[in-house]
C-alpha cells in the first residue's frame, strides 16, 4: 500500500464515520431493544437461510400467505385466489394499496419475479418449479400459475415459516441471481430496514413503515394484521450470554430471544422480568452418521448407537435441569403437530449401553476410527459433541474427536471422501421443530442416497413413503404415510434424533404482546 492509497482509504473511513451518529428522532418515538439469537451477518433471506436472517426478513418483506398458529396458511398480500376445476390453474389477486418502502405500488410482476427467485432455492419451491407450466402476471394486480400436476400444498408452501420463506421483493431486486446476494433491502413489510445504521455483529435497526396497511383480521403468527406498536426496533447483538442477561436485568434491552436455561431461575427472580417458552414447536437435536463409509455404512452399527444413546443425557446437556423443556423423541417429526409419529421408535435413545455394546459386537465392528467433527463455537453442537464422545468411548468405539468451528464443520460435512482423507463419520446439528412438521421442508429426513442431505443415507423405503405422503389426499392418508416414513427412518437410522427441546425467551414487564412462535413476531408488541 503506498501513501496515496492510504489517503484514499482513510478518506473512505472518514466518509463512513458519520454513519455512527444515530438520528436524534430515536428519542421521540418508542424504541424496542431486542437481543436476537445470533448476529445478522447478511440480509438476503433467499440467498442465506440462517434463522436469524429469516426472522429479520419477516419484518421487512411481506408474504402472499402466512401460516397462523395452527400452521394453516391464510391470505396476507393476496386478496383472493381461484383454482380451476382440474386444480392445475391458480389465479391470485393482490390486495389494493400495497406499497414498497420506496413508495412504488406492489405489482404482480414483482411477485412473479420474487416467486421465481424463491423457487430456485426452496426445497418445496423446487418441486413446484418441477411441475410448473407457466407463471405470469396477467395485469398489475393479478397473476396466474399453471401447473402440470395438482399440488395441494401450494398455499402452505407460500406461507410456511421454513427458510427460505416466500418473501416478496420488487422486481428489480428479485431479478438478482438466487445464488448472489441482493444489495438493496426494500420490501413491503411493516418495517423498513435502516441500512446506514446497520453495524453487522453489533446492531440492526428497523423503523415502522407508516404506509403499511395491515389486514383487518386479528393477528396470529404470520397471518392477520401485522400492526407495529413501536416506532423503532433495534436489534442489539450480544456475543456473550452473560452480558445479555446482565443487560436485560439492568433494563438496557427489552427482550431477549434465547436466554440460557440455567440463567432462567435468576431472571425469574427479577420482578421486572417475564420469562416464557419461546417457540412451542421447539427444536429437534440431531447427530448424523456418514452412511458412505465404515463403520456407519453398516445399518446394524448405526442401530447399536441409536439404542445405546441416552436422549436424556443429550437433552440435559442442552437445556439443563429444567425437565419441562425437553421430551424424548422416538421419531423424526415435531411433537404436538398433526403428523407426529412414534411408529417403530421403541428403541430410540433408550440409553441402554449394554444392549448397544452387544449389538455392536454382533454387527462386527472392526475398530475403524470414528471421526467425530464437533463445532465448538455453537453451544448446542458443542454440548451434544461432548455427550457423543463419552457415549462412543463407553461403547468401545475408537473415537477421533475433531474440535473445530462451525465454518469448518460446514465444509467438512460436505466431503464424501473417506474419513481418513478429509471426510467424516459423524457431526451434530439441530433442526427447528417448525421445519420438522412434514417431509416437505425437511431435507434432513430424506434418504435418497447421493442426492440426500449430508450423510447421504440411501434407504428406499423412506423415500417411497415420502412419495406417498406428497400424493396423500386427506389427513388420514398423510398420517399413514408419515408412520411409514418414521418406522423406515428409524430402521435404517437416517440420522439419530437426540431429543425434542424447547427454549425460553425473556422480556421486561413494560413490554406486552409477545407471543410464542417459531419466529419472534414483533408486530403486536408494545412498550409502556
Amino acid at each position: 500500500m503506498d501513501r496515496r492509497t492510504f489517503l484514499k482509504g482513510s478518506a473512505a473511513l472518514g466518509l463512513a464515520a458519520p454513519q455512527l451518529a444515530r438520528p436524534a428522532l430515536a428519542q421521540g418515538g418508542k424504541v424496542l431493544r431486542f437481543v436476537p439469537q445470533a448476529n445478522l451477518a447478511n440480509f438476503d433471506p433467499i440467498w442465506g437461510t440462517q434463522y436469524v436472517v429469516r426472522n429479520a426478513g419477516t419484518l421487512v418483506w411481506d408474504m402472499l400467505y402466512g401460516v397462523d398458529a395452527q400452521l394453516k396458511p391464510q391470505r396476507q398480500m393476496v386478496e383472493s385466489e381461484e383454482v380451476s376445476g382440474d386444480k392445475l390453474t391458480w389465479t391470485f389477486r393482490l390486495r389494493p394499496g400495497l406499497k414498497w418502502h420506496d413508495g412504488e405500488p406492489v405489482l404482480a410482476k414483482d411477485v412473479v419475479a420474487s416467486l421465481t427467485r424463491w423457487m430456485a432455492r426452496d426445497p418445496i419451491g423446487l418441486m413446484i418449479r418441477g411441475i410448473q407450466d407457466d407463471l405470469a402476471a396477467t395485469d398489475d394486480k393479478t397473476f396466474r400459475w399453471r401447473l402440470k400436476k395438482p399440488f395441494p400444498k401450494l398455499l402452505y408452501a407460500l406461507g410456511k415459516t421454513n427458510a427460505p420463506m416466500a418473501l416478496m421483493m420488487p422486481e428489480r431486486i428479485a431479478k438478482t441471481d438466487p445464488f448472489t446476494q441482493i444489495n438493496e433491502y426494500v420490501g413491503s413489510g411493516p418495517m423498513k430496514f435502516v441500512r446506514n445504521e446497520w453495524v453487522p455483529g453489533a446492531r440492526a435497526v428497523f423503523e415502522t413503515f407508516t404506509d403499511y396497511k395491515p389486514r383487518d383480521e386479528p393477528n396470529s403468527w404470520l397471518a392477520g394484521g401485522k400492526r407495529m406498536l413501536v416506532d423503532r426496533v433495534e436489534w442489539v447483538i450480544m456475543p456473550d450470554a452473560a452480558t445479555a442477561s446482565a443487560a436485560l436485568q439492568n433494563g438496557e434491552v427489552d427482550w431477549w430471544e434465547n436466554p440460557i436455561s440455567d440463567l432462567v431461575p435468576l431472571l425469574r427472580k427479577n420482578s421486572n422480568l417475564n420469562v416464557d417458552i419461546a417457540d412451542p414447536l421447539g427444536n429437534v437435536g440431531s447427530f448424523r452418521m456418514n452412511h458412505l463409509h465404515p463403520p456407519f455404512d453398516n445399518p446394524k452399527i448405526r442401530q447399536a448407537v441409536m439404542t445405546a444413546m441416552s436422549q436424556e443425557d443429550y437433552m440435559r446437556s442442552i437445556v439443563g435441569d429444567d425437565d419441562s423443556l425437553w421430551k424424548k423423541l422416538p421419531g423424526f417429526f415435531t411433537p404436538g403437530t398433526p403428523l407426529y409419529s412414534e411408529a417403530g421408535g421403541g428403541n430410540v435413545g433408550k440409553g441402554d449401553i449394554k444392549l448397544g455394546q452387544k449389538l455392536l459386537k454382533e454387527a462386527g465392528y472392526k475398530g475403524e476410527p470414528v471421526v467425530c467433527v464437533v463445532a465448538q463455537d455453537q453451544g448446542i453442537t458443542k454440548a451434544q459433541g461432548d455427550i457423543t464422545a463419552d457415549l462412543l468411548k463407553q461403547m468401545g468405539f475408537n473415537v477421533d474427536f475433531v474440535a473445530t468451528d462451525w465454518g469448518t464443520t460446514g465444509t467438512r460435512r460436505a466431503s464424501k471422501a473417506p474419513p481418513s482423507q478429509g471426510g467424516w463419520n459423524m457431526f451434530h446439528t439441530w433442526h427447528a421443530g417448525a421445519d420438522c412438521i412434514n417431509p416437505a421442508g425437511y431435507p434432513a429426513v430424506r434418504a435418497s442416497g447421493e442426492k440426500a442431505w449430508f450423510g447421504w443415507p440411501d434407504i428406499p423405503p423412506v423415500e417411497a413413503a415420502i412419495a406417498e405422503w406428497f400424493d396423500a389426499a386427506d389427513p388420514a392418508a398423510e398420517k399413514a404415510a408419515i408412520d411409514k416414513v418414521n418406522a423406515a427412518a428409524v430402521e435404517g437410522v437416517v440420522y439419530v434424533p437426540t431429543g425434542f427441546f424447547l427454549g425460553y425467551q425473556a422480556w421486561r414487564k413494560n413490554v406486552s404482546g409477545i407471543v410464542k412462535g417459531p419466529i419472534p413476531f414483533t408486530w403486536g408488541v408494545s412498550k409502556a
Binding site: D2, G9, A41, G201
Partner: protein
C-alpha cells in the same frame, strides 16, 4: 527529518507486503467455507457449491491473490462476503469504539500507573513499593474476562452506577460516551497499569541515582518537582516505548473486552470474521492493524527527539 519520515513510511511497504501475503496464504489454506455458513443448515451440497462459485471462492490461489493485491493497490479493500458492505465501511463503523476504548484505557492506565511507579521508586524497598509491585504482578495474572465480569457485577448490576454493555458515540455527549467506556477501560487497563508501573519504577530507580537529580535534591528542591519534573522527564523514553509496543497487546485484549462489554469494535469484528471466514474483512483489518502498528512506532520514534534533544535521526 522529513526525509527520515519519508524513508520510514517507504519502509512500511515491505512489512505490509509480508503481512498481506502471510494472511492471504493462511486464509487460503485454512479449511472452512463461508458458502456453507451462508447457505444455512438446510442447504443441499449443490446449493453450497453454487454459492461458492458465485463468490469466486473456487478459483486458484494465484488468481485470487493477484486480484486482491490489485484491488489493494487501488485503495479498495473489497467487499465483505457476508454483509455485502465495503470492508472500508465495516472498518469505519468499528474504528471509533475501538479507538475510544484504547484512548480511555491508555489515559486511565498512565494516570494511575506512572504516579504509582514513581512513588514505588522513590520509596524503593518500603511497604508501599512492595504493595505497588505486588499489585502490578497480580494485574497481569488474572484473565481479562474474569475481571470484566466482576466489575460489571459490582458497578453495573449491584450499584447501578454504570451501564453493563454497549457503546454510545461521542457525538451523543461526553458522559454517555464515557460511562460506557469506564468499566471496559478499567478491565483492559489493569494489565497495562501493571506493565507501565513496573517500567516506570525501574527507570525512575535508575534516574534517581543520576548526578543531576542528586544535585537537585542537594540544592534542597522539594521532592515533588524533583520527582515529577526532573526525574520523570528523563525517564520518559522507556515508558513511552512500552506504551507504544503495548498497542498490539491492547488490541489483543480488546477482543475479549469488546466481547464481554458488547462493544462493536475492531477486535470483535476480526474474531467474527475469522470464525466465519469472511476473507476480505480479515485481510482488511489485519492490514489496518499492521499499518497502525508501524505508524505508532514511527510516532514514538519521533517523540523521542522531542523528549531528548540528544537523539537525532
Amino acid at each position: 527529518m522529513l526525509g527520515y519520515i519519508g524513508r520510514r513510511i517507504l519502509a512500511t511497504i515491505p512489512v505490509m507486503a509480508v503481512v498481506g501475503l502471510f494472511v492471504f496464504s493462511l486464509l487460503y489454506f485454512a479449511p472452512g467455507d463461508p458458502a456453507a455458513i451462508i447457505a444455512g443448515d438446510q442447504a443441499t451440497p449443490d446449493d453450497v457449491a453454487r454459492i461458492r462459485a458465485t463468490l469466486g471462492l473456487d478459483r486458484p490461489f494465484l488468481v485470487r491473490f493477484w486480484e486482491w493485491s490489485w484491488q489493494i493497490l487501488h485503495g479498495d479493500l473489497g467487499t465483505s462476503i457476508f454483509t455485502n458492505l465495503p470492508v472500508t465501511t465495516m472498518i469505519g463503523q468499528r474504528v471509533q469504539p475501538t479507538v475510544s476504548l484504547m484512548l480511555v484505557t491508555l489515559v486511565f492506565a498512565i494516570v494511575v500507573a506512572v504516579p504509582l511507579g514513581v512513588v514505588a521508586a522513590w520509596k524503593a524497598g518500603s511497604l508501599i513499593d512492595r504493595l505497588v509491585m505486588g499489585l502490578a504482578v497480580t494485574g497481569f495474572s488474572v484473565p481479562v474476562f474474569v475481571v470484566g465480569y466482576v466489575l460489571a457485577y459490582v458497578f453495573a448490576l449491584e450499584l447501578g452506577w454504570l451501564p453493563v454493555q454497549g457503546y454510545t458515540p461521542i457525538e451523543q455527549g461526553l458522559w454517555p460516551w464515557l460511562s460506557n467506556l469506564i468499566l471496559p477501560a478499567v478491565t483492559l487497563g489493569l494489565v497495562y497499569i501493571a506493565l507501565i508501573a513496573r517500567v516506570t519504577r525501574a527507570t525512575m530507580l535508575d534516574v534517581l541515582q543520576q548526578d543531576y537529580v542528586r544535585t537537585a535534591r542537594a540544592k534542597g528542591l522539594a521532592q515533588g518537582p524533583v520527582l515529577f519534573v526532573h526525574a520523570l522527564k528523563n525517564a520518559a523514553v522507556p515508558i513511552v516505548t512500552v506504551i507504544g509496543i503495548g498497542i498490539a497487546l491492547l488490541i489483543g485484549g480488546a477482543v475479549v473486552t469488546e466481547t464481554v462489554f458488547a462493544i462493536p469494535g475492531l477486535g470483535r469484528l476480526t474474531v467474527d470474521a475469522i470464525l466465519r471466514r469472511d476473507y476480505p474483512v480479515i485481510q482488511g483489518v489485519v492490514l489496518l492493524f499492521s499499518f497502525v502498528y508501524v505508524l505508532v512506532n514511527l510516532a514514538i520514534d519521533l517523540f523521542y527527539t522531542v523528549l531528548d534533544p540528544r537523539i537525532r535521526y
